[in-house]
Symmetry: C2
Subunit: 343 residues, 2 copies
């Protein structure tokens, strides 16, 4: 039976994670869960972000479920670099998976897009690019200061994530992959991505392909999000595009994500895209849907496609039944989702 590590985290993290666990327990009884205390609270208490011993223990799990970490009093970057990005890199989570759907029953901000019409997934590279941490500064604090950031891209790293995107597209109805980059300006990295994409595409004649510059893709995600099926892109472009995709499909409140090591060498991590929302924490009003959808991605990754599909369908049922403006109760939503998923 699967062993998962749970990092409930800060703010609304524990509240939404509790619902995700409720739903996992309903569809897949017997999952062993170990709680890990990481995030802003621990940082304030002990100064620790991610002790080496915890990293080692996490490595022994099949997957990690994370709620949200952070609060406004932690200096920016500390938990991002020390915890979230640290895990992505240490566990070689090279597929950063971010699906976006405009769910029937919900309203996105776009007048022209109808619920049900948008169903896309961004496969964002997770271990390279500008996130590599390669950069520096000279003459810091003087008028002569120069600061650099370097995007590092390897054939190894690009090819594996592009392969993942094509494999996913092959399992979807529309079978289309859009490569997003900026080949007209970032010529070296762009060429590597484009050539790799072409080579992998040649092995998948059943998959339709297209290329877009990142600025055009950002625009089309707003004007025609329906056109996308699978989008594959680099780490930073993926960071930006997935927030646009979330925005046009009802906001990050509904957005799930997985930082996946498809090889299974290390655990993958699943978390809602939203933050710890300290302003509404502890009141039992946070929407657990993003956390529950993240749990569905976790179940799918662990080979329980059927359980994952039931959880996703439960979310569809929940969202279709909601009345706009009616306040929700976190635990009640979790109860309903668990019930729908096993019905």
């Amino acid at each position: 039976m699967a062993r998962i590590a749970v990092v409930a985290g800060d703010g609304i993290g524990p509240e939404v994670v509790a619902q995700a666990r409720k739903v996992i327990d309903a569809v897949l009884p017997g999952v062993a869960a170990t709680e890990y205390d990481l995030g802003a609270a621990r940082y304030h208490r002990t100064g620790e972000v991610l002790p080496e011993s915890v990293l080692t223990e996490l490595a022994g799990h099949d997957a990690i479920l994370l709620g949200a970490v952070g609060d406004p009093t932690v200096p920016p970057g500390v938990l991002e670099r020390g915890l979230l990005l640290k895990l992505r890199f240490a566990f070689d989570q090279y597929v950063n998976l971010r699906p976006s759907r405009l769910w029937p029953g919900t309203a996105g901000p776009l007048g022209s897009v109808k619920p049900g019409e948008v169903d896309l997934v961004v496969v964002r590279e997770g271990t390279e690019g500008l996130y590599a941490g390669a950069g520096g500064a000279l003459h810091r604090g003087t008028p002569a200061e120069i600061a650099t950031e370097e995007s590092l891209n390897t054939r190894h790293g690009v090819e594996r994530v592009v392969r993942d995107a094509f494999a996913r597209a092959g399992r979807r109805e529309r079978r289309k992959v859009t490569l997003v980059h900026k080949t007209n300006v970032l010529t070296h990295a762009g060429s590597l991505w484009a050539r790799t994409f072409e080579a992998v595409a040649a092995e998948h004649p059943d998959v339709t392909t297209e290329y877009q510059h990142v600025d055009a893709a950002a625009m089309f995600l707003v004007t025609q999000p329906q056109r996308y099926d699978v989008v594959v892109t680099d780490n930073l472009f993926g960071d930006i595009l997935t927030d646009i995709a979330a925005a046009v499909t009802g906001g990050i409140g509904l957005a799930a994500s997985g930082s996946i090591n498809p090889d299974g060498t290390y655990p993958s991590m699943f978390e809602p895209v939203h933050g710890s929302a300290p302003d509404i924490a502890g009141r039992g009003v946070a929407d657990p849907v993003a956390a529950v959808l993240s749990a569905a991605l976790l179940l799918d990754q662990l080979g329980h496609a059927d359980a994952a599909a039931r959880v996703t369908a439960a979310v569809g049922q929940e969202l279709a039944a909601r009345t706009p403006g009616v306040p929700l109760h976190t635990a009640e939503v979790g109860d309903r989702l668990a019930a729908y998923a096993v019905a």
Copy 2:
């Protein structure tokens, strides 16, 4: 009297530029215009993109008005790097100015945003960052390939564009500047931008400031574009954010831009954000509004704030009077705009 260089370019470029010139001639009679033949057509005919002699001649003008360059048969990057970016760098056009308004009478894609509510300007750095062309590749075409792109940021370059943003904000009603970066990941460049921003902000106590990560800004541009006044950001983030801003305010068909050298050492360049649109070229149906708004930016930059304001007001009048779905005629729109501007 001002001397401007006109690069009408390809596709609909000449059609929309003709209207922009019509309007300039109406509000500021006597501007001397010299035409330069650059773009895809010249490239196909002669293989030349931007001869050194033309660059020297262009330098002798007060400003450049460009329509659109490119067609699908020119290899990607040739005109972008060889012409557009070449001019931005050669003429030290460090302020890339992109205003976005949701004009009364027009409909954006967002259900919740009413015409008149969005009026923002992105001040995009134009001469540094990932556009510097610093990058390379090793073991190209082999499994061991690595490709890099480097973002270069100097205090000199950051400070001058941040100063420009604050100066613009000081002349606007809301007096607010939002810095957009990704300080939690791009720590070196992010720190330089943030420290510089703070230093300049301290000199402008009358201007409100805020900071947002680029992914959050991309999202808020979709969900709450009303919140922005002046946005200052780096070259690549600006490229992406301005296309989102254009998308939520009716599309790049209405978006104007200026690549500005505020020092006046070199000519600034003004162009619509849209491309050469070969599919509708030659039919007299292209909307010249973006080109005319670019002409307004040109007039403003040359010190004719009053003429610029009249052109902008003319566009407002034109857009407010349009009936959705009724086809437009490029030259008639130009005639109307010229008439409104001098009425």
